[in-house]
């Protein structure tokens, strides 16, 4: 019998659940597979509908983690298996080596001497990074990472020599951690649906067809362009942008469910474009615009009233090369009497949906439904997008609820 709680996933939901449970007096282990906490929210430029940067919400939670001794967190860590039952789960965790020590909070010197460049996953390949890097400027923990998989022996020596003594630690190796916990909160979240699977949209064929998450990075001040929205092909600011809604969502061949956030994300991204260039023509191709609740509906109305905004009811099912260099043509049937149309745009944004992480990387011992969402059980409590596709606000609420459920599992057994 253990009264500790394990939270799998250190995104917005996992971090919230961890601090909520810890502040109720329980010991919490937080396990994150990336090298930083914050998950997808850390990659966003702004929240909808308030349009404030996500760092504020995250920083408050990071501060709560830092000041609470009941929270132990692991980054670059994978849960390898879960066994046992409510009250006494046995969990095995693999913690990958980070290659640096906690005092390594900057690595400019190491970056300068490293030659290898790999696509930066934080920016979805829109920029490159070196094998020694800070995941992103606001990363928590604020500690650099040595990418041991993409670095040669000579390069390590050069980096080690360039960096202050004691910052690089190549002696680290993968570490197994076994935990006994009373309850598990699964907050493994989501990943953007792989756009290359949408064969008719030919994502790989066009540089200027990007995903909505790439758009977040392009618009973000910490992103590859310093927040200037530019086409990947030539760095030009797009004069027209087409949004392809339901790219993978509500589609039995891909994600059978509505991803809930993509309509709002597109409406939000229109404000990014309009802020930088009010003349930018925005085309939104949709099946239905889903702006749930009064606040979101109001936001939708506000966007609709803007100038040079076009909503076309019809799904884009083909993308052709445009006449202008770098441009593309979105093909759709305007079902409200417009006929089959080709709309040329400078850049297209695929509103790719949220695929639960469980769909492709399930954890042995956790049960998932056919879409990859976690099936709740006594002692195993999903929250956030591991449970169902939801926005950040609802993720926070579901995380708090999950913390309560986990505490109940333990207190029921203790009494």
């Amino acid at each position: 019998m253990s009264d500790s709680i394990l939270v799998i996933g250190g995104g917005f939901s996992g971090v919230t659940a961890a601090v909520e449970a810890a502040e109720m007096g329980y010991n919490v282990y937080l396990v994150e597979k990336e090298s930083y906490l914050g998950g997808r929210v850390a990659q966003l430029n702004k929240y909808f509908p308030k349009l404030c940067p996500p760092t504020c919400g995250l920083e408050i939670n990071f501060k709560r983690i830092k000041t609470n001794p009941r929270i132990t967190f692991y980054t670059m860590a994978d849960v390898e298996s879960v066994s046992g039952g409510p009250g006494n789960f046995k969990v095995s965790i693999n913690v990958r080596p980070r290659g640096t020590t906690p005092q390594c909070t900057t690595c400019k010197a190491g970056e300068a001497v490293a030659k290898t460049e790999v696509p930066d996953e934080f920016n979805f390949g829109l920029s490159k990074r070196k094998p020694i890097y800070m995941p992103h400027p606001m990363a928590f923990p604020n500690q650099c990472v040595l990418d041991l998989e993409n670095v040669s022996g000579d390069e390590i020596d050069a980096i080690k020599a360039a960096m202050p003594t004691g910052h690089i630690d190549t002696s680290q190796s993968a570490e197994k951690v076994n935990l006994d916990v009373g309850a598990i909160i699964v907050a493994t979240g989501w990943k953007p649906y792989d756009p290359t699977r949408l064969t008719n949209l030919k994502f790989n064929d066009y540089e200027n067809v990007i995903t909505n998450m790439m758009m977040e990075r392009l618009a973000s001040p910490s992103g590859p362009t310093g927040g200037k929205i530019q086409r990947p092909s030539d760095g030009e600011a797009p004069k027209s942008v087409g949004f392809v809604q339901c790219a993978g969502s509500r589609d039995e061949n891909h994600l059978a469910f509505c991803s809930y956030i993509c309509c709002m994300a597109t409406l939000k991204q229109i404000t990014y474009l309009k802020e930088q260039n009010p003349e930018c023509e925005c085309y939104v191709f949709y099946i239905d615009i889903r702006a749930p609740g009064a606040r979101y509906e109001k936001f939708y109305k506000k966007i609709k009233e803007m100038d040079k905004i076009h909503f076309i009811k019809g799904k884009v099912a083909d993308i052709l090369p445009g006449d202008a260099p770098g441009a593309v043509k979105l093909v759709a049937e305007d079902t409200i009497g417009g006929g089959k149309k080709e709309q040329e745009v400078d850049m297209a944004v695929l509103a790719t949906g949220m695929q639960p992480v469980g769909a492709e990387s399930p954890i042995p011992g956790i049960e998932y439904d056919s879409d990859g969402f976690v099936v709740p059980k006594e002692g195993i409590v999903p929250c956030g997008c591991a449970k169902r596709p939801i926005d950040v606000v609802s993720s926070g609420q579901s995380a708090t609820a999950a913390a309560l459920k986990a505490v109940q599992t333990i207190s029921r057994r203790a009494s």
Binding site: N200, C246, R250, D251, E252, N253, H254, I287, G314, K315, V316, A317, D318, V331, A332, E333, T335, G337, G339, K340, K341
Partner: protein, 425 residues
């Protein structure tokens, strides 16, 4: 507010559609992926999204007046990309089967030929009737029945006289039913696309220009299969179909030449039979090539449909299989009859020949009454599409047409047309 219009769904139409292979129609949520991925759907004629909506709402008359249904060759691309698994390709297939039944007259024949038992029964009945006629004819000719003596020659059991006496009335029925069906279909689609009938604002087209401007190009396109070959998922199907169509045309030429040579020239004037032809006769060589093409073509269609049905790319209804098997039976009995005759095995040759006649009659009868009817309605739709395009461009006035305007002036006119269209919107 726009004028309100009360929609009256035809529930029996929806039910009929769902029973004949269109059971997925209600899954559609109108995203229009289908209209975009369809390689045959164009800017002006986007389908099958609108047909899915009309079918869901039970707008039977809207669908009857829609030629686009017949421009689909059921490649299955729409079904493959459909996010709801609503299978628009299959729904359109079901709509076409229902349309053939709707235009068929008398309906009883269409009902009989729409299921396996009915078709089998028709073939058996025809087989028995042919034997009765052969028996009666043997009383007149004095040949042995059921196996005439001597070398096998099929005119010994049935000459062209009894055959023509039976077949010509059937030809009459088929031609009449086809004519009725086509004209009703034409009126419906003309009404559907908002073109007045000939008696209305549009003058009646003269046969000559009508044939040369619309029928000939349509038939040329069908012979070349240009549209069918654009079909994505089931591109291969077009190959077998092309082979089959060409074999039918060749066999039609053979039958007509033999009819003229034998029934009109040889027997009445030379008092001898033109058939059986020796194997070196050019007509015979031509006929044998066509027969092989027919069997190979239908076999390719069969294999392709089997494969694609198993893969779930398209659904196949009873009617699809019936037509394939009937054509296959015609080809196989025809080739067997020839081989058995050459081998001089009277005991098998004559029954197989009679069976061949029975299948041929059934297949021929099936033209306006079964899935075979697609040859009538699809061809009509191909012709109509050209006619409609001209009508809408103001070029099909037959005598008043504007298409004699030199190209330079035409170019000036174009923007005006566009303006008009825009103002309508």
């Amino acid at each position: 507010m726009a004028e309100t219009k009360k929609i009256q769904p035809d529930l029996s139409f929806i039910r009929g559609l769902m029973e004949s292979g269109g059971d997925t129609v209600n899954r559609c949520y109108q995203c229009a992926t289908c209209s975009v991925v369809c390689p045959l759907s164009t800017e002006e004629r986007a389908f099958p999204r609108k047909e899915m909506l009309w079918a869901q709402w039970g707008l039977a008359s809207k669908i009857a007046g829609d030629a686009d249904v017949w421009l689909c060759h059921q490649c299955g691309d729409c079904s493959a990309y459909c996010p709801r698994d609503a299978k628009p390709g299959d729904v359109l297939g079901a709509i076409r089967l229902n349309a053939i039944k709707y235009y068929a007259e008398p309906k009883a024949i269409a009902e009989t030929l729409s299921n396996r038992a009915g078709v089998l029964g028709t073939v058996i009945a025809a087989f028995v009737v042919w034997y009765i006629i052969a028996f009666l004819w043997s009383l007149h000719t004095g040949e042995h029945f059921p196996f005439p003596e001597g070398t096998v020659a099929y005119h010994k059991i049935l000459t062209f006289v009894p055959i023509d006496v039976v077949v010509l009335p059937i030809v009459g029925l088929v031609v009449w039913a086809s004519y009725k069906g086509i004209t009703r279909f034409w009126n419906d689609i003309a009404k559907g696309s908002g073109i007045e009938s000939y008696t209305g604002t549009a003058p009646k087209p003269a046969v000559g220009p009508f044939v040369s401007k619309y029928v000939v190009p349509a038939v040329q396109e069908i012979l070349a299969h240009t549209r069918f070959e654009k079909c994505g998922e089931t591109k291969e199907r077009a190959k077998g179909h092309k082979l089959l169509l060409w074999s039918f045309i060749m066999l039609f030429i053979v039958t007509t030449s033999v009819f003229i040579l034998n029934d009109v020239i040889y027997v009445p004037f030379l008092h001898k039979h033109f058939t059986p032809m020796p194997l070196w006769n050019p007509i015979k060589i031509f006929a044998n090539i066509a027969a092989v093409m027919l069997v190979v073509g239908i076999w390719m269609i069969f294999q392709m449909r089997k494969e694609k049905t198993a893969e779930g790319v398209l659904q196949s209804s009873e009617q699809d299989w019936i037509l394939i098997w009937l054509i296959f039976a015609v080809g196989v009995t025809g080739i067997l009859a020839e081989l058995l005759r050459l081998m001089n095995i009277a005991g098998l040759a004559y029954p197989v020949y009679i069976l061949h006649l029975a299948t041929v009659v059934t297949l021929f009868l099936a033209v306006p009454f079964s899935k075979f009817g697609h040859l009538l309605y699809r061809t009509t739709a191909y012709v109509y599409q050209r006619y409609e395009d001209d009508m809408k461009a103001g070029k099909a006035g037959f005598g008043m047409e504007k298409d004699v305007i030199p190209p330079a002036e035409q170019a000036e006119e174009a923007p005006e047309d566009q303006k008009q269209e825009e103002s309508k919107e």
